[in-house]
């Protein structure tokens, strides 16, 4: 019993004197909970649910279209933005201004007549961003159907009251709201994209998160070299800090590419074998390689800076781990950006993980090409350069 007591006391003493470890252990959950609570504040509190913005394009200008526009705008928590035309609508969606858009092509009356005769011509077109989470998509679609049904009910009422609109008779035949056909299209980078599945939507986030974790082995390897006296020997051989740190890139870049290949292979082959949805590798492979390369460079440079700033391998591991979690939480990797409050959504831009995520979405969800990912690639490359130069600047050339 005495031995056990002595062991317990020793453990408490050792733990209480690890000030850096304790600081991280206490601060990390606080920071993490703060970020996650802020990110999920609106998603988990119905009273604070934010408004979903959508684009509206009415090219029919008929009575039904106007009525539908009014009915949809009257739905709760929907905010309408007007689109000037089909091209503008698609461009604004591709610029991530909204996740949804509704357009009504000319000739709605004819399509209603067709529907009355059992035709399946779509009355309206719902444009969806492939990045929109399934729940948000279903919710918006339900809102649109409700608006359609309310217009239909209005027609029927007018008909009953003896003031029928010319389309009312046609619409009356459509007593089942489900027969009001909505043409749902996913807005790709250049053309319509395939309907995304859960795997397609989740893989990019985990890909980005996993690749950034290269920070940990990299930082600990640099610190091990320092502790073992290797850096001292290399300094004596006049090896410059720039060369020393730059030499870390190829090995860890290769590691990141293998990670990427494994994660994609799991999505494409393993998940379907286990009954899940298959990951489809849409978009440009070169674009994906560019995003992965820029992400890898950003993660490696960040790891080098952590290694240079940390005093020990333990400190580097905790610092790197916490930084990854915080960047992931802010960057929309753990919580979709859509469900975050507006201020948090704006804050995602500070995390390089959000840029990488956007780049992966451009390729894997929107089927984009090299040109589509250039902004994200350049952003990540800039981040990588800044981190690398900071790491070389803080690298201790001589002990002061």
């Amino acid at each position: 019993m005495r031995v056990l007591f002595a062991l317990i006391v020793k453990e408490l003493l050792v733990l209480s004197r690890d000030r850096h470890g304790l600081f991280v252990l206490f601060v990390m959950p606080a920071v993490f909970i703060l970020i996650m609570s802020m990110a999920l504040r609106d998603a988990l509190d119905p009273s604070r649910l934010g408004s979903t913005t959508y684009l509206w394009l009415d090219e029919d200008r008929g009575y039904f279209a106007l009525a539908l526009g009014d009915a949809l705008a009257a739905r709760p928590r929907l905010t309408r933005l007007e689109a000037a035309g089909e091209a503008a609508l698609l461009a604004r969606m591709r610029a991530d201004e909204t996740l949804f858009a509704v357009s009504i092509a000319p000739g709605l009356s004819a399509r209603i007549a067709d529907a009355a005769n059992g035709g399946k011509a779509a009355l309206v077109r719902l444009h969806v961003s492939p990045t929109a989470p399934l729940q948000a998509r279903l919710l918006f679609e339900a809102q649109l159907r409700a608006a359609l049904a309310s217009v239909q009910a209005e027609y029927l009422l007018e008909d009953q009251m003896g003031v029928p609109h010319e389309d009312a008779a046609k619409l009356r035949a459509q007593s089942d709201p489900a027969n009001l056909v909505i043409d749902e299209v996913f807005v790709g980078a250049n053309a319509a994209a395939a309907a995304p599945n859960a795997v397609q939507q989740s893989v990019p986030a985990w890909l980005v998160f996993a690749m950034f974790f290269v920070v940990l082995p990299l930082a600990t390897s640099v610190l091990a070299e320092r502790d073992q006296g290797n850096l001292q020997r290399l300094t004596l051989l006049n090896v410059s800090p720039v060369r020393l740190l730059a030499a870390k890139f190829p090995a860890y870049y290769l590691l990141n590419l293998v990670q990427l290949a494994i994660m994609l292979a799991v999505g494409v082959w393993l998940v379907p074998l286990l009954g899940g949805d298959k990951l489809t590798l849409a978009g440009s492979p070169v674009g994906l390689w560019l995003v992965a390369s820029a992400l890898s460079a950003a993660a490696i440079s960040f790891g080098l800076l952590i290694a240079v700033l940390a005093r020990s391998a333990v400190q580097a591991t905790t610092l790197g781990g916490v930084a990854n979690l915080v960047l992931g939480a802010i960057g929309g990797v753990m919580v979709p950006k859509l469900v975050m409050p507006p201020a948090m959504q704006a804050a995602t831009v500070v995390s390089p993980m959000s840029w990488a995520l956007e780049g992966c979405w451009d390729i894997l969800l929107r089927g984009g090409g090299v040109r589509d990912v250039l902004p994200e690639v350049l952003g990540l490359a800039g981040f990588a350069l800044a981190m690398f130069f900071a790491a070389t600047a803080f690298f201790p050339r001589t002990e002061r």
Binding site: Q228, G229, N230, Q232, R233, L237, V239, T398, E399, R400
Partner: protein, 262 residues
């Protein structure tokens, strides 16, 4: 210069000239090295003796440009440290106390890597690797990972690495710590042989008095960052301050006192 004993002028031409060097680490209460002046001749084996925390490692780190001095000047082979640090570093080989190699690489991989990092390639690299392996008698361990080597073999690899670039000055920081008597004797023999055959200048720190007495031409005893005395073994033991001292250990304890150190 020591306050108790002033050495005679060295007969050998000076390769290392340290003049009034001082260093205080950030946040420290006192200087790690305080007004140290030393001359070390070409081909000399110079011992730095001192208790823990005396400033030996700081002094050799300053000598190699690994720690920035606050005051004074260092000239090596005619090069001023403040102006020609890369040239000075090229002249020096270091066997650090912390060993300084990659445990996951084999003996020969470590040698090839550090050789290449220092600018050697092709036949020159192969030749220097072979020389280092032969000198440290590591031939039968060439393919072994450094992490599985015994303490003595690790020290020999450390020594081999310091010889790769054919340095003019070899700095050995406690090179025999934790090794068996056979390995210690071997390392001391190698150091002596390198000096004899190649005219290498050696700066040697150790806690082992008999070791220092055995191989060093001249010794400096340092404590609290200052040189207390300096000279050849005969000069040190023949000085008035050493009266009654049987050997270097007696003199060392008299000068640095018996009080336990941090």
């Amino acid at each position: 210069m020591g306050e108790l004993y002033t050495s005679t002028v060295p007969k050998l031409p000076n390769l290392i000239e340290i003049s009034h060097v001082g260093k205080r680490y950030r946040g420290a209460e006192r200087d790690a090295v305080e007004d140290v002046s030393l001359n070390i001749g070409q081909g000399e084996i110079f011992g730095l003796l001192g208790p823990n925390g005396a400033g030996k490692t700081t002094l050799i780190s300053i000598l190699l440009g690994l720690v920035r001095k606050d005051r004074g000047s260092v000239r090596i082979d005619g090069h001023d440290m403040d102006r020609s640090l890369p040239q000075i570093r090229r002249l020096c080989g270091l066997a650090p106390q912390d060993l300084g190699f990659y445990p996951m690489l084999s003996v020969v991989e470590n040698l090839r890597f550090f050789g290449a990092a220092g600018g050697l390639s092709g036949a020159a690299l192969a030749q220097r690797v072979d020389f280092a392996v032969d000198t440290a008698q590591l031939d039968e361990h060439r393919r072994k990972h450094a992490r599985v080597l015994s303490g003595g073999l690790k020290r020999r690899l450390n020594l081999a690495l310091s010889l790769l670039h054919a340095p003019k000055i070899l700095v050995l920081d406690e090179p025999t710590v934790g090794v068996d008597p056979q390995s210690r004797a071997f390392i001391l023999d190698v150091i002596g042989r390198l000096r004899r055959e190649q005219g290498l200048t050696v700066v040697y720190t150790s806690h082992y008095m008999e070791e220092v007495q055995q191989i060093c031409d001249r010794v400096a005893i340092v404590d609290r960052g200052r040189v207390l005395t300096e000279g050849s073994m005969q000069e040190l033991l023949g000085a008035p301050a050493a009266e009654g001292c049987r050997d270097l250990e007696d003199l060392f304890l008299r000068l640095t006192h018996h009080r336990l150190r941090d």
